[in-house]
Symmetry: C2
Subunit: 156 residues, 2 copies
């Protein structure tokens, strides 16, 4: 299926994986730390980390040889998932955090507790859902994910 | 676990569910259309739609009584996932769309093909990952998802 959402799901669509990525963003790097923080089985964690490495999302570096132990870090591609994670954080805050935000974002540049707001890359205005639509892009190919009624092509 | 990312995963963490939500955002509303577009089994689709209804993400309205058939629509809570979906689209475009973007965003207000950019809600500057950090929020409680080294509390 020719869809970038589906492609992203290939990476974050497995249960636990977004939480492993969250922890990597927090600076957690060691197997035992992921394991105790998430409370998942070692088998599942091993499998998820191997898959993330295969997908180019994490790299690992040995910090001990015998037995071999690794630090896991996000690659540039992995770190670039922060926008997805921030939007997941905001949605959960809005709809499933009756006690208030468990984790807040701090913008170090201005020093404030903040959240990300979405603006249009072209006109700079705040983006509102009712003011956006979608169109086929140059990579739509012959298996566009768009339904017929949205297939007006806007660029080539 | 006291984490808004985990809460959002409760909704979009099942395979297929983000693609069902994507299709709902495209205006797809009928069981058979989801089924043929996604190519998933009717059982899985039934289960996913029931779960989304239970979670308050979709509502359904009968358009035919005998046999009963429904139109599925996003609720406000469900539609509010568009920011997560847009960030998934962008990431997939950047890292897994060698032929170019399959689907583009059109900002109807300005008429341009656009993408969402993230700015700080407080100072209005573009948000860059290296300039943000996290802190415990008022809802952190006693089971904060943050590792020790990030537990400086910034608000109450």
């Amino acid at each position: 299926m020719n869809c970038s959402v589906a492609q992203t799901l290939e990476v974050i669509g497995e249960w636990w994986t977004p939480l492993i990525i969250r922890d990597l963003m927090f600076g957690v790097s060691r197997f035992d730390d992921f394991q105790s923080r998430l409370g998942i089985s070692r088998n599942v964690l091993t499998e998820r980390l191997a898959r993330l490495e295969e997908q180019g999302i994490v790299t690992r570096e040995a910090y001990q040889d015998n037995p071999p132990r690794y630090d896991y870090r996000l690659t540039e591609k992995g770190a670039d998932l922060w926008r997805v994670m921030e939007m997941m954080r905001q949605w959960g805050d809005r709809w499933a955090a009756p006690e208030g935000s468990p984790v807040e974002l701090v913008h170090r540049t201005c020093g404030n507790i903040a959240h990300a707001e979405l603006i249009c890359s072209e006109c700079g205005e705040a983006l509102r859902q009712r003011e956006i639509t979608v169109a086929e892009g140059p990579g739509a190919g012959t298996t566009s994910a768009l339904p017929e009624w949205l297939r007006e092509r806007r660029s080539s």
